[in-house]
Assembly symmetry: C2
Homo-oligomer: 268 residues x 2
Amino acid sequence: MNRNQLVKQIQEKRSFLCVGLDTDLTKIPNHLKNHPNAIVAFNKAIIDATKDHCVSYKINTAFYEAMGLKGWAAMEETVQYIPDTHLKIADAKRGDIGNTSSQYAKAFFETLPFDAITVAPYMGEDSIRPFLEYEHKWTIVLGLTSNKGAADFELQSTGNQLLYQKVLQTVAQWGNPNNLMFVVGATQATELAIIRQIIPDHFLLVPGVGFQGGSLEEVSKYGLNQQCGLLVNASRAIIYASSGENFATEAKEIAQQYQTEMGQYLPM
Amino acid sequence: MNRNQLVKQIQEKRSFLCVGLDTDLTKIPNHLKNHPNAIVAFNKAIIDATKDHCVSYKINTAFYEAMGLKGWAAMEETVQYIPDTHLKIADAKRGDIGNTSSQYAKAFFETLPFDAITVAPYMGEDSIRPFLEYEHKWTIVLGLTSNKGAADFELQSTGNQLLYQKVLQTVAQWGNPNNLMFVVGATQATELAIIRQIIPDHFLLVPGVGFQGGSLEEVSKYGLNQQCGLLVNASRAIIYASSGENFATEAKEIAQQYQTEMGQYLPM
């Protein structure tokens, strides 16, 4: 999926919502737990219920890997079910030396039909380049994350800028706003003004709204650009909105609330 | 596997070799390529041939994920085949917010029987803690890697020390030499003297000997401590020593050469 297609989706739906499929067998509704393919059944119901209100789905690979082979199969079946109109993100936080990153890129961009993958920047340029070589695919590099541990290294000073700022500035030179995005946590909304000075045009993937305490209004105020430039992710707040048989209806309801609020903030 | 068991293995074999199973279907011998379970057949032959000369195996998850579901199954079968006398490392470079890292820890320490996993430090303490909570398991955090991209962030200055030095010093406080190791690339051998000042007691996992150009003698000179404290990994140099039907015999030969050289350097 290219940038024009993504922006068009956002304009048509008046939504920049990404729904996070961090699906955990212990947290899905009881009536589904004995389903022979419970995770996929749950995900399909969530996708059906929310697809008119979001423009992207984000699959958190950890939750699938924790279930072993069956989990990997569930991830495969889920990503294949996501409509092609939606940006399919593998939230995988991969990254290794060049010849290994090439294998990760192959895993998520060829073997699996993801449009985008999250990547950790610590190992530098050759760990990120192999992902950028794919046309119409997106590399989403960790900038400033939403967790407490962001203070340990990301917010440390490296001369005249903080580490995460150096990461944004340096990595931005390896790609362009058509193949590169950055992860910026919603709990760090006040940093968004600074971030927009460094990377005015890139899309930002923003987790941490909802359960992690980030404010959609704040994020929109400081993060939106002329082409939207934001994908705001909500996972638990939507997919676990209800633990009853009405889980999909409730998920739809919350996704719609996000969409309505997002429509008010969109500049276009 | 605990530290005493690992040190005992090293003493008995007079080897601190880790064999890296970065197995790639395009690189295995031709006569195996049509085998119905080629990757596993190749890995089992390599393990049988090298197990007397090494103390650890490292499975590079990227190469298995690139093959999709079949690859994940091959990884599962391979790790189950590694003898319990050997430290089983998942070279996975994972790391995410706490509740997600918990899922990765479950994936590799419970669902799969790995003893150790490599983890990226960028996201800080809560991204690493969940791995450290497992008894007799090892968390191997990226310090200074062997690739060119190490210069981009790892070797950047953060006040009075380089970023990778800050990572070593900070992360060392979250665990101890019985549950924590660090990745230090062999191509950076001259940095090992400085690294040993910061973390004198920890085991270091050292990739980059062989194809990436690192020297075993240099690494041993600056990296060994009283309990060895090193696991030196070789992947391509061993597993692709020959592309003929004699690949396992040749792999054994190279592994044995490493073992002999390591025996000369060991202080104990």
